[in-house]
């Protein structure tokens, strides 16, 4: 069992490398940019897949967590603390090497938070908010849970849209690259395209490894028990509230990680990233990939996001996702890949 799990990761790595070689050999290296973005989005989607497919809890607000991650990092790394140099807090941060100086637009020097510190802040705030929201929200079920998470997403959207500090409708641009280690930076420069692609795939593989191991552990079994019958799981001694909350927070943190990396990669973030349509789109991808099938979700996420980012669907982008969502839910609620399975294998129950 364990060997096959690592074999799956190895296959993923092989496919990722093959795609890179293919793109470079065919002279379409720019495809790697969209593939990188698709990989970061997939990181969010597989986290949501854990929450929806395994724990059985819908979230229509995950774009909110993506935005919390992205915006936190964007605000901290673009804020110029230079004018506040005299303040004690700025001096203390500076002494802790949490600030970096970088040239600003006018050739002067801007002092802003180090991307690693901003990254930590982004994850902590996403986790804290997920915790605060999750404790009451996860007591709800069905329609109420859907509406409550939708409501959370709406609040995040209207806050980033209505706050000047977050750039209101324009969003935040000019986010500097994120230098993970010297020489390895998350950013959009064309020369670092391959490097960024590899990095995104490695991050996605790490996320996948974490989740695959998780669903095959005690935690995974507990989550499936909750999905099957929450009362029964609770009666068997599964701490359902804690498992649901932990899963919710984990998926929120994964969304925030995706948000931070994609923001640094794109060099900016806008309020549309927090929109309800984005959340619905993530849910659509999880549904298409098959609830409770991480690899199915990952495959569909990579394919659909790549096609969408290439602009294949044109102005029908949202409509295509909605149509896919409806068709899958009407005809094959277990996901598209489920239809491809050998017909003589009995179907699992949803």
């Amino acid at each position: 069992m364990r060997r096959s799990r690592y074999a799956q990761i190895a296959i993923f790595a092989a496919v990722a490398v093959a795609l890179q070689l293919l793109a470079q050999a065919s002279g379409k290296a720019f495809f790697l940019t969209q593939l990188t973005m698709a990989a970061y989005t997939s990181l969010l989607v597989i986290g949501l897949s854990l929450l929806m497919g395994y724990a059985g809890q819908i979230s229509l607000g995950h774009a909110g967590f993506f935005a919390i991650g992205g915006y936190t990092s964007a605000v901290l790394t673009t804020a110029d603390l230079g004018p506040h140099r005299g303040r004690a807090i700025v001096a203390a941060l500076s002494k802790l090497h949490l600030l970096v100086a970088r040239p600003d637009l006018y050739g002067g020097e801007a002092l802003s938070v180090h991307p690693w510190a901003a990254f930590a802040c982004a994850l902590l705030s996403a986790a804290a908010i997920a915790c605060a929201i999750g404790i009451p929200v996860l007591k709800l079920r069905g329609h109420y849970l859907a509406m409550a998470t939708l409501g959370f997403g709406t609040i995040v959207h209207s806050i980033v849209l209505g706050t000047q500090r977050f750039g209101a409708a324009d969003g935040i641009s000019g986010v500097p690259p994120f230098e993970l280690v010297p020489g390895l930076r998350v950013g959009g420069s064309p020369s670092a395209r391959a490097q960024n692609y590899d990095l995104a795939c490695a991050l996605l593989a790490a996320g996948m490894l974490l989740l695959v191991n998780l669903v095959h552990s005690r935690v995974g079994r507990a989550l499936r028990a909750i999905h099957g019958a929450e009362e029964a799981a609770s009666a068997m001694g599964v701490d359902t509230a804690r498992f649901k909350l932990n899963t919710f927070v984990l998926s929120a943190v994964m969304a925030a990680v995706a948000g931070v990396f994609l923001t640094h990669f794109n060099g900016g973030i806008g309020p549309s990233e927090a929109s309800i349509m984005k959340s619905v789109r993530y849910v659509a991808i999880v549904a298409v990939g098959g609830m409770g099938s991480l690899w199915g979700t990952l495959t569909m996420s990579a394919v659909l996001n790549f096609l969408s980012l290439r602009g294949i669907f044109g102005s029908l982008d949202d409509a295509v996702f909605a149509a896919i969502l409806i068709l899958v839910m009407l005809f094959s609620p277990q996901g598209i890949l489920h239809l491809l399975r050998r017909p003589w294998v009995p179907r699992e129950r949803a």
Binding site: I58, L140, Y144, M147, I155, S158, I159, V283, L325, L330
Partner: protein, 296 residues
């Protein structure tokens, strides 16, 4: 002066409250017969307004509104027959996702059909600046029109469900669908009828408030969230409670502008929604015991 301002905010709150109330009633009608929350409810309001604006180019206003309501009702029936009718006992999660998908499809279709422009119907009586002085407060006649429409809808709906055979059948279906089917009631048709009714009510509301609030392809989603807030705030299933809750929400929202930037106005209703869901999911006027037994 302050008192006058207070009343102006109150009137504005009532106007928006009307439309929230009517969307909430629409949620209730469908929820009662099917147990489904129809996330596409707000789109009916948008479609009603948009269709009426288009029809008004060729037809007089009353005919345009009638046409818009009928067209939206037909679409409501179409949605039910295409996406919902033939599913046997679908899971809640599945229905949520399907109705959300439908609402996005409708919105995108409207975007391609009508573009992004903001439209409005002419005022039913008078124009933008006409106002009636009621006790020192200036009120646009259109506000009275929308309050009146809301009142008429609630009364007619009440009479319909109390005193007509069809209304009684719908109530039977709402109480226990299986039992109603065993008694020979055409439950599937009743479900379709509930979609038609709720679409018609939504479209009518969309037409009546359109001169004041304007309409655009994308207003549905926000209205759906607010209508749902209202339906929950009142306690799912009761129309009168939805009206009361609609006015409460409209007024709270209108006064929130005093305390907070307008950009956060939408966040208010969502915050109320979350608070209600956390502390009293049965709603202000709902029965706690009954709510506990329902499956959400």
């Amino acid at each position: 002066m302050l008192l006058e301002l207070f009343f102006q905010y109150l009137v504005a709150g009532l106007t928006y409250g009307t439309i929230y109330a009517i969307v909430g009633i629409g949620f209730n009608i469908i929820y009662n017969t099917t147990g489904i929350i129809n996330f596409a409810q707000g789109e009916f309001v948008m479609l009603g307004g948009m269709t009426a604006v288009t029809l008004h180019r060729f037809l007089p206003l009353p005919a345009a509104i009638l046409g818009a309501v009928l067209a939206t009702m037909a679409l409501g029936a179409l949605i039910e027959v295409t996406f919902i009718r033939w599913l046997a006992k679908p899971a809640v999660l599945r229905m949520i996702v399907i109705t959300i998908g439908v609402s996005i499809l409708v919105r995108e279709a409207a975007l391609h059909l009508w573009g992004e422009g903001v439209r409005s119907l002419p005022y039913f009586t008078g124009n933008e600046v006409t106002s009636l002085a009621i006790g020192g407060v200036r009120v646009s006649p259109q506000v009275l029109w929308s309050l009146g429409a809301c009142l008429v809808i609630v009364v007619l709906l009440h009479l319909f469900s109390r005193f007509t055979m069809l209304g009684r059948q719908m109530r039977a279906c709402a109480q226990n669908r299986d039992a109603a089917a065993l008694c020979g009631l055409p439950t599937r048709n009743l479900v379709t009828l509930s979609f038609v009714l709720s679409a018609g009510i939504g479209a009518l509301a969309g037409c009546v408030v359109c001169p004041i609030t304007y309409t655009q392809y994308g207003i549905g989603a926000g209205l759906a969230i607010k209508g749902f807030t209202v339906a929950i705030l009142g306690g799912l299933g009761s129309s009168l409670a939805a009206v009361a809750a609609g006015f409460i929400l409209g007024i709270l929202e209108s006064f929130s502008i005093w305390a907070m930037p307008t950009a956060y106005k939408d966040a208010i209703s969502v915050a109320i929604l979350l608070a209600i869901l956390f502390w009293r999911p049965s709603g202000l006027f709902g029965d706690r015991e009954a709510a506990r037994l329902k499956a959400f």
